[in-house]
């Protein structure tokens, strides 16, 4: 028994490593907390005069469409609801709590608390999107001014903030691409979109939804997008190119202008996925490389929180020529007041129910206003400095490599490979990631398919200290050591996280076993008993 416990006391004698253990509340599923009759919150009732006036109101709903049985929701008192969710929150490793450089491509930077405070003011939280324009001049000003900032940061002519996240902004740009070719009577002919494997999968997936066939280019031997492959791929059928730069490898494509020219030459449009913009703010701009469109993720580059997966913000930017296709409405200034321009006949229409995630736009605006031009450039420079420092330190660990572009500096992130360690020990990159959870750290592999073998993508942003980066590296080094000395420890991780490894994936992949809701789970448990 003692020996068994010692086995997991990996931090003993290693003072540099944190003796982390995540909260483990063994918290029941909320339905299990239910006690008949309990109430969590009481809402206002109708005054007696109203009740008398309207009578048995439910009888106005036709019998066939009236709810007969109350929904089987849990019945829980307020302190118990709060406690349950606080425990779940403690079992979630938010970026505020950890050295969150392990979720590469996600740009897990600091989300300033002051911006959260501002976004919760009644002046934003309690305004209705259909109020008269005169009564919402404040938020329209924020949206208008933030658009001016993004125009300067990207060189584009106009922006729309309707998208709730990056992928939706990418989709918006593919819809604009389609509208552009439609306007030129070339929509039928131009049915192909070209992207690269190291661009986010949404570039391919969104273009597919917009009706395009997808051509995916793989990198050349040095890891750069392959210019010759692009030249072979383009034709009169090319609608456009959708590409990230720097790509998810962190490698900046120095021939990017030539890529744009090749596509323009055949009449296609070029979209710059700027999910990886954090390292190039104030350094280089999408429009200056000739791109027709670009997008930013406000929840990445512009420091708004990720919220467990949204709401974020997607800013879609376009050239002057494409501005007329932007989603409706756009915010304008007539010299006297701000207004929403809905009279845009060439617009692709609506993307969002209203105007996008206004509080996120506000937070992004406040972030830029807290830094200014010098500050934004400092963001980029320090993000790149941190990343190249991390790269140097990571490469000192035996078993890891940074494939491609050897000797070149990377921008905001690096896609590493643990192939050598895997071949030596049988411990995979995924295993390393699960072991990292034991130290209170995130760790991400890569989008699929894995082009880099045993991939690992790290992005230190500008938000972490040198000491924190060193701590991250020390943990990874420790795990690499463990892979050699005690591979089972790594392969069975996590041990100090909230829960243990899921070994049987059938309950997530087999239709007769999967359960997306508690009711489905109960039903299937019963079926399996029977």
């Amino acid at each position: 028994m003692t020996q068994n416990i010692m086995k997991f006391r990996y931090t003993d004698g290693k003072p540099n490593l944190r003796r982390f253990h995540q909260a483990r509340w063994d918290e029941p599923v909320i339905f299990e907390l239910s006690q008949p009759g309990q109430r969590g919150v009481l809402l206002p009732e109708a005054e007696s005069a109203i009740r008398d006036n309207v009578g048995d109101i439910l009888s106005t709903i036709p019998e066939t469409i009236r709810r007969k049985q109350l929904p089987a929701l849990p019945e829980i008192s307020q302190p118990q609801v709060l406690r349950h969710y606080l425990r779940l929150s403690q079992e979630t490793l938010g970026a505020d709590l950890n050295v969150d450089i392990g979720q590469g491509t996600c740009t897990m930077k600091y989300n300033p608390k002051v911006n959260e405070q501002l976004a919760r003011l009644p002046g934003i939280a309690e305004i209705h999107p259909l109020q008269d324009e005169d009564t919402v001049q404040g938020i329209l000003e924020i949206m208008y001014q933030f658009e001016q900032m993004l125009k300067e940061i990207s060189g584009m002519a106009r922006f729309s903030f309707q998208s709730q996240a990056g992928s939706q902004a990418i989709y918006t740009c593919t819809a604009i691409m389609r509208a552009y070719h439609q306007a030129n009577s070339e929509a039928d002919q131009r049915d192909e979109v070209i992207t690269t494997i190291f661009s986010h999968p949404s570039n391919a997936a969104c273009a597919k939804v917009a009706g395009y066939k997808i051509i995916t280019l793989y990198p050349d031997e040095d890891g750069y997008p392959d210019l010759n492959a692009l030249k072979e791929a383009v034709s009169e059928r090319t609608a456009g190119l959708m590409i990230t730069n720097p790509e998810d490898t962190g490698i900046f494509n120095p021939k990017i202008t030539e890529f744009v020219k090749v596509v323009h030459h055949v009449g296609g449009l070029c979209f710059y996925d700027q999910a990886n913009a954090n390292g190039v703010l104030g350094i280089t701009r999408a429009r200056d490389a000739g791109f027709d469109m670009c997008h930013f993720n406000l929840h990445k580059t512009f420091a708004t929180p990720h919220g467990c997966g949204g709401p974020g913000g997607g800013a879609a930017g376009v050239s002057e020529e494409l501005a007329k296709f932007l989603p409706v409405p756009v915010v304008e200034w007539d010299g006297n007041k701000y207004y929403l321009d809905t009279n845009r006949p060439d617009s692709i229409g609506k993307i969002h129910s209203f105007y996008g995630v206004a509080p996120v736009i506000l937070k992004a605006y406040a972030w830029v206003m807290s830094l200014g031009a010098d500050g934004l450039r400092e963001v980029a420079e320090v993000a790149v400095l941190n990343n190249n420092y991390l790269l140097k330190k990571m490469l000192e660990i035996p078993g890891v490599s940074a494939p491609y572009a050897v000797g070149k500096p990377r921008k905001e992130q690096v896609r590493y490979s643990w192939q050598a360690l895997y071949e030596e020990t049988g411990v995979s990159s995924e295993d390393i990631g699960l072991r990292a959870a034991d130290f209170g750290l995130h760790y991400w592999t890569s989008h699929h398919p894995f082009v880099v073998p045993e991939p690992n993508t790290l992005e230190p942003t500008e938000s972490y200290t040198k000491a924190e980066i060193d701590e991250y590296v020390a943990v990874i080094r420790q795990i690499a050591d463990e892979a050699r000395t005690d591979p089972e420890l790594v392969k069975t991780a996590p041990h100090n996280s909230t829960v243990h490894r899921i070994v049987d994936h059938d309950p997530l992949d087999k239709p007769e076993q999967w359960a997306v809701t508690w009711r489905a789970y109960q039903r299937k448990l019963d079926q399996n008993k029977a």
Partner: protein, 472 residues
């Protein structure tokens, strides 16, 4: 003269509070470690022609946090809010009560700043979203509910695309009163392969025009979509018949709902819906100028439906330790994360935090709370309708059928345009009903009023009195 910061600071350059390594000596240490002379060297591979040669032209920043607060507060003071005004606008974004615990939970650092961790380090995120789906499942009486998509618009558009993939057909019928903006979004999202046809409303009831539906439907129809309540607040009395017609022609029946109505209105699966979708903003999200929207999609637990979701679906599963709940992605291989353009539409960041919040809301409300809020909304909205009807020349409600929360009021008989009435109301601190004359000119001079559980009798009476004063 130097500023205090310059006098007391060790070094001249600004050390930014959000950028710890902007401190010059640390920066130098790191450069030395990398072995380069300056940060500039790390950009050497960006061609000179692409380099920005000047400083970006951005406003001067507010380096002090206090100055930033003053600046933003000053701008926001130009907004009039629904706290200091009496609001009767809905039309897709609703002023409902937000329990304090909802704000407490979605403001927690852990949930607010988590993102895409594994089911181990982010166990709580997975469980909270599984519970959200589970509680929505009870409200909807359906076994599969997704992790929220962007908003109700997106949920409707994706539901229609799912139905088209399921049936292998490419014609959609959108029935009854639907927000024209939503129809625009759906139409665009379904380009280029799916045609969207709208079936009008019955002028008497405001409901789906049944005979028009029967004329339009065919064996090419993939999906019949309608809403309950509709954009104009109407409860479709013929929901079961619409579903039956759809099924007779081999089409899927998709119904859009606002879940806050489901304590009193039957879940659509009862009257034949195959896919249910909608927006969860009513369940604990502040209006936020439309920033609180989030969409849901629900189906039966059949493989053919599950495999058509683009969204993430979180399932419950055992771990290596007996008795421990684990959670993970169900049928991940259908997503664009797994197989790029071969996946179903796409998946990415959407509205998870609002899903967690809606879960908190449903847990607080419980079965009784949902029934009560539905009933009180109906009581108050019907009271408002009746009071308005007492004003000469005002037709309230305009349509005969049952309605929930929102109702159309026609002012033709008053001779006053809605815009004029609303501007008089605004002068008294009231946001009147949404002017429908632009979106629905054929209805005449109409407004869509929204009354929720937050309106007191005195609030409604004040609005009615103000309307009476304007029109008489």
């Amino acid at each position: 003269m130097k500023t205090n910061r310059e006098k007391h600071g060790k070094k001249q350059p600004v050390v930014y509070p959000y950028i710890p390594n902007s401190e010059p000596s640390i920066k130098q240490q790191m450069l030395d470690e990398i072995g380069v002379a300056s940060v500039e060297a790390l950009y050497e591979d960006i061609p000179e022609a692409l380099r920005m040669k000047r400083k970006m032209d951005l406003p001067e920043p507010f380096l002090s946090e206090y100055d930033l607060i003053r600046h933003v507060e000053e701008i926001l003071s130009h907004n009039a809010t629904c706290k200091d005004h009496l609001n009767f606008r809905g039309a897709g974004c609703y002023q409902h009560f937000v329990p304090a615990v909802c704000d407490e939970i979605n403001g927690r650092s852990e949930f607010l700043t988590a993102y895409a961790g594994e089911p181990y380090d982010d166990h709580g995120r997975f469980q909270a979203l599984f519970e959200y789906s589970s509680m929505m499942g009870e409200l909807l009486e359906m076994d599969v509910v997704n992790v929220p998509t962007y908003d109700g618009f997106q949920a409707a558009a994706t539901s229609i695309r799912m139905a088209c993939r399921l049936t292998g057909r490419n014609e959609a019928l959108v029935c009854g009163a639907i927000n024209p903006d939503k129809l625009s979004m759906i139409t665009n999202y379904c380009l280029p392969d799916i045609s969207i046809n709208q079936i009008d409303i019955d002028r008497m009831t405001g409901n789906v025009d049944f005979s028009a539906l029967e004329r339009a439907i065919s064996n090419k129809t993939a999906v019949v979509y309608f809403e309950n309540p509709s954009y104009l607040g109407m409860i479709p009395i013929s929901g079961a018949e619409i579903a039956e017609i759809a099924h007779k022609h081999g089409a899927e029946c998709v119904v859009g709902v606002d879940p806050i109505s489901l304590g009193v209105i039957a879940p659509p699966t009862v009257y034949g819906a195959d896919i249910v979708c909608g927006d969860i903003q009513s369940l604990g999200m502040h209006m936020q100028f439309g920033g609180g929207q989030a969409g849901f999609i629900a189906t039966r637990d059949e493989e053919k439906y599950v495999m058509e979701y683009p969204s993430r679906l979180f399932g419950i599963t055992p771990t290596s330790v007996p008795g421990e709940y684990g959670f993970g992605d169900v049928a991940y291989e259908r997503t664009s994360f797994a197989i790029r353009e071969q996946g179903k539409e796409w998946v990415g960041t959407a509205s998870a935090l609002w899903g967690i919040t809606a879960g908190v809301y449903l847990a607080l409300m419980g079965p009784q709370g949902m029934a009560e809020v539905g009933e009180v909304i109906m009581q108050k909205s019907h009271y408002a309708t009746k009071q308005l009807a007492a004003i000469k020349g005002v037709q309230s409600p305009m349509f005969d059928g049952p309605y929930f929360r929102e109702f159309v009021v026609n002012f033709d008989g008053t001779g006053k345009p809605v815009a004029e009435i609303n501007s008089a109301l605004l002068a008294q601190g009231i946001f009147g009903g949404m002017d429908l004359s632009l979106k629905y000119p054929e209805l005449g001079n109409c407004a869509l009023f929204c009354v929720t559980e937050l309106h007191r009798q005195a609030d409604i009476d004040r609005m009615v009195t103000a309307v009476r004063e304007v029109v008489q």
